[in-house]
């Protein structure tokens, strides 16, 4: 019997541990992912609720209304056409065509299904028509409208302006756009697609920020590294070429190689780093992470884990090949440089107000993680300032303010006649205006032209408009 008791104690403890384990897992996953499950587009109960509940309204950071339900139960959108279009994918539509829009992702909040028990009980007792919660976004409607109006016509792409100290998304603009208030008309191709969050682009030279960080943190003596660029260098069975094409960069140090965006130099760096160090730094910056932010559905950026050849390693270091990144993530990377190496979690919701008028959730800034040391960030910041003062991004200059940035001209095809995607990522090194920006213009050639100009315009307007 004694032996039996001992065995029973053992199995009993095991059984209770299993219960604790299942309970813990249940609590943890429900707490962390429950809202995400409930917001899924497979949640048919939301569509039902939309018929019986007055959907809450959506406003911008200053309370400017972006979407609301009128007396007839009709969903209405901002009367300012520019704003309405600029934020179309961000606000979303009632048909959930734009899958990441607030009206889809936060549907359960807007129809009050995630509201407080008190609110629900009150509505139940008073017999009032159930009303969902109101959401105030962090976006600035006017800024978004202006950015969209300055978007070069005929191009597609995305612009994201964020506050790099708080992570707030100020202007998410994805082109082409659509009119959520008039879904019957034909909509341009891919207009429902929010390029800021869902567009996985080849980063091109903007990825050199990450390669530079890897070099500074892993290669001793990186700062005094000297390079010789003859316009092209063989790596394994492939060659990395500089896009300036006709003329070689010649002798350069790390600083000028970054400012002039020399591919040969950075391919050399990534070759010297090796794939493990580069992958480690890229993953520290958030590549290959399934971002599970509470406010936005941000598609994962990727850096190849199984680089097969030396030439792929070299090309990965200059942001080509299988490296992919979203515009918002790129803005977060620039923001992390500005913010002393700490990347902030992106925030889209400023406040949620219950139907009884009581605020239920106020956003508090949170760090995603420290992605590099403060000293690395400050060196990269200096180098990015050079890019704008004398390097490839001089068009991003703003009179009276310090702009730091990096250009990119990402090849998307082996066919050289296809124009590259133009990138510019950067930020204002100003204590009062902590804004970072990422611009991608599809097939717009070199990043130093249209993209840099648009980024400067966006930052300028942010200084002007965001309070």
């Amino acid at each position: 019997m004694r032996e039996l008791r001992r065995n029973m104690r053992l199995i009993g403890v095991l059984l209770v541990c299993l219960f604790v384990g299942v309970g813990g897992w249940f609590g943890y996953t429900t707490w962390t992912q429950g809202a995400r499950w409930a917001m899924s587009s497979s949640n048919t109960r939301l569509n039902r609720a939309k018929n019986s509940v007055v959907m809450g309204s959506i406003t911008d950071r200053d309370g400017y209304p972006l979407a609301w339900t009128d007396e007839e139960g009709q969903r209405r959108y901002s009367n300012d056409f520019a704003i309405r279009l600029a934020l179309s994918q961000t606000v979303g539509d009632t048909l959930s065509m734009s899958g990441t829009g607030v009206q889809t992702f936060f549907a359960s909040t807007l129809v009050g299904m995630s509201g407080s028990v008190i609110d629900r009980t009150w509505q139940w007792l008073s017999g009032e028509t159930a009303r969902g919660d109101d959401i105030q976004l962090t976006v600035d409607a006017r800024l978004s409208g202006v950015v969209a109006q300055n978007f070069p016509s005929g191009y597609t792409g995305a612009v994201v302006v964020i506050n790099y100290k708080t992570g707030e998304i100020l202007a998410p603009v994805s082109m082409p756009e659509y009119d959520p208030g008039n879904m019957a008309t034909s909509v341009p191709d891919t207009a429902y697609f929010n390029r800021c969050l869902q567009g996985r682009y080849t980063p091109g030279s903007t990825f050199k920020i990450v390669t530079l960080a890897a070099a500074l943190e892993n290669l001793p003596g990186a700062l005094s590294h000297a390079f010789t660029c003859s316009g092209s260098r063989e790596f394994g069975n492939g060659a990395v070429t500089c896009l300036s094409g006709t003329k070689a960069h010649g002798q350069m140090d790390l600083r000028s190689a970054f400012a002039e965006s020399c591919n040969v130099s950075f391919a050399t760096l990534s070759y010297e780093l090796g794939q493990n160090a580069l992958l480690r730094t890229a993953e520290a910056f958030g590549f290959n992470d399934d971002f599970t932010f509470s406010d936005v559905v941000l598609y994962a950026s990727s850096f190849p884990k199984d680089i097969g050849s030396v030439s792929e390693l070299a090309w990965s270091g200059v942001g080509q090949g299988r490296v992919l990144v979203t515009p918002l993530h790129m803005a977060m990377i620039a923001g992390a440089v500005a913010n002393g190496g700490v990347m902030m979690e992106p925030k889209l919701v400023k406040q949620i107000t219950g139907s009884t008028g009581l605020p239920r959730l106020r956003a508090t800034p949170g760090a995603y993680r420290r992605v590099m040391s403060a000293s690395t960030a400050s060196i990269i910041g200096d180098y990015m300032e050079d890019v704008v003062t004398y390097g490839t991004g001089t068009r991003a200059r703003i009179q009276g303010y310090t702009v730091c940035g990096k250009t990119g001209s990402a090849e998307t095809s082996d066919d050289k006649s296809v124009e590259t995607n133009a990138w510019f990522v950067g930020y204002l090194a100003e204590e009062e205006y902590p804004y970072a920006v990422a611009v991608v213009l599809e097939k717009a050639g070199s990043g130093g032209n249209l993209a840099a100009t648009l980024a400067a315009k966006a930052l300028m307007e942010a200084i002007e408009l965001v309070g």
């Binding site: 019997m1 032996e3 039996l4 008791r5 001992r6 065995n7 029973m8 104690r9 199995i11 009993g12 059984l15 209770v16 299993l18 219960f19 604790v20 299942v22 309970g23 897992w25 249940f26 609590g27 996953t29 429900t30 707490w31 992912q33 429950g34 809202a35 995400r36 499950w37 409930a38 917001m39 899924s40 497979s42 949640n43 048919t44 109960r45 039902r48 609720a49 359960s108 299904m113 995630s114 028990v117 629900r120 009980t121 139940w124």
Partner: protein
């Protein structure tokens, strides 16, 4: 002398049973208030719910007070089990489409309570039933194999038989579960007899074989695990038990390649979102319901749990999460754990190997069943079609689980009787010395 008196006092103190009146009041309050709330939900008021609002607390009080008047049963276990049963009725009232579902469930519980009393009597009266165990084995195998001959296929498993068409269907595997416990406990507690031990394992294996033929893989898993655990408890033979578990794991891998059903369940579990509209639909709707419930739930009678397929049986846990929220669901898990702890302590205080093994076996099977189905609902493990004890709608499961609890209670009353005898004898000796 004084030392001895102190000992007897301590014994007496230990004997005075825990005061369960607070627990009992809380449970009856829950039953009455929840059902009254549901009564007022519709206009005109729901008479059936109103009746249940009075009937459920009454039956609970009657059971706990009445049964403990006859026998010194463990009242905490009984009260908690009745609480779980009432959660079942309340949930089904709140979410069912037809008002007949909660009513049938209440009738099943009533039938189960008869089974519970039968379980107590079985333990207390049949002291020499040991001789019948071969017959028991044959009958069990015969009974569980019955669906193969005259059964129906439901959800890919052929494990049901119809007694009265469209009215009474039973699932033999639920009942045989209890007899498996009894037979295993009886054979394994005879430690000298190696033949008996082998026979009992063969019996377990035979049942598992039949379940395999019926494709009732959830029950198979349950039977298998309990058999291995009881074998380990009785023999302390860790290596052989681990070898058994290893063989089971190999069998599971084999089942994965052999049965499309298993393959599908596993692939759904790995990524339900891949096919959200079709194969992953059930699980995703379950997760959505759990997510919609959040911390405190949508509220009783609110929300849309009927969106979950099988919301009253396989996914009742998800439906409860939507209605009552995560906090309540965690409490529910804690109640199961409490019943199990209580059951383990009953098993530990047995002086007889058969009763100890039987009590522990019943607790184990209830615990594993809960873990398997809850784990399946929350995507911790692939879904297996076992029932959530005392809560999922269905008569077979309810009756068999309550019968099992009855046996557990019977064993606890035997323990209490024996302890009382000890005290009486001790104080009598004391008196003699004095």
């Amino acid at each position: 002398m004084t030392r001895k008196t102190g000992e007897t006092d301590a014994l007496r103190k230990a004997l005075r049973r825990a005061d369960t009146s607070l627990l009992l009041s809380a449970v009856t309050l829950f039953q009455a208030s929840a059902m009254l709330l549901l009564t007022l939900r519709t206009q005109p008021i729901d008479i059936q719910s109103l009746l249940l609002a009075f009937a459920m607390p009454a039956v609970t009080l009657l059971c706990v007070k009445g049964l403990s008047k006859f026998w010194k049963i463990d009242r905490v276990v009984l009260t908690l089990v009745l609480f779980l049963c009432s959660v079942s009725v309340v949930t089904l009232t709140a979410i069912s489409r037809a008002s007949v579902t909660p009513l049938t469930q209440a009738l099943y519980i009533a039938a189960g309570l008869v089974g519970l009393v039968a379980g107590i009597l079985f333990i207390r009266l049949l002291r020499h039933w040991n001789r019948w165990k071969i017959l028991f084995m044959v009958l069990s195998v015969g009974f569980i194999a019955l669906p193969l001959a005259i059964g129906e296929t439901k959800f890919g498993a052929k494990n049901w038989i119809t007694v009265v068409p469209d009215l009474v269907t039973i699932q033999p595997s639920e009942f045989v579960k209890i007899s498996l416990m009894v037979v295993l406990a009886a054979c394994l507690s005879e430690r000298q007899s190696r033949a008996m031990m082998v026979l009992s394992i063969l019996f377990g294996a035979a049942l598992c074989g039949v379940l395999l033929l019926e494709r009732d893989l959830g029950a198979l898993l349950l039977y298998f695990l309990t058999t291995v655990i009881l074998f380990f408890l009785a023999t302390s033979n860790g290596w052989l038990s681990l070898a058994g578990l290893g063989a089971g794991a190999a069998g599971a891998v084999g089942a994965y390649f052999l049965f499309d059903l298993v393959k599908e369940r596993v692939s759904i579990w790995r990524n339900p979102w891949a096919d959200a509209a079709d194969s992953g639909y059930q699980l995703i709707q379950s997760l959505i319901a759990i997510g919609s419930g959040g911390l405190l739930g949508m509220g009783l009678g609110l929300g849309m749990p009927r969106m979950i397929p099988l919301y009253h049986s396989d996914f009742v846990f998800a439906a409860i999460c939507e209605q009552f929220g995560m906090v309540f669901a965690l409490c529910l898990l804690a109640v199961y754990a409490l019943i199990i702890l209580r059951g383990i302590s009953i098993a530990m205080s047995c002086r007889d190997g058969f009763h100890a093994l039987l009590a522990f076996g019943i607790v184990t099977i209830l615990g594993l069943q809960t873990l398997l189905i809850v784990g399946g609902n929350i995507r911790l493990i692939p879904l297996t079609g076992v029932t959530l004890p005392f809560i999922a709608s269905g008569g077979s499961s309810m009756v068999s689980c309550l019968t099992g609890v009855g046996m557990l209670l019977g064993i606890s009353s035997l323990n209490a009787d024996r302890d009382e005898d000890d005290v009486r004898r001790a104080s009598w000796q004391e008196g003699e010395c004095g």
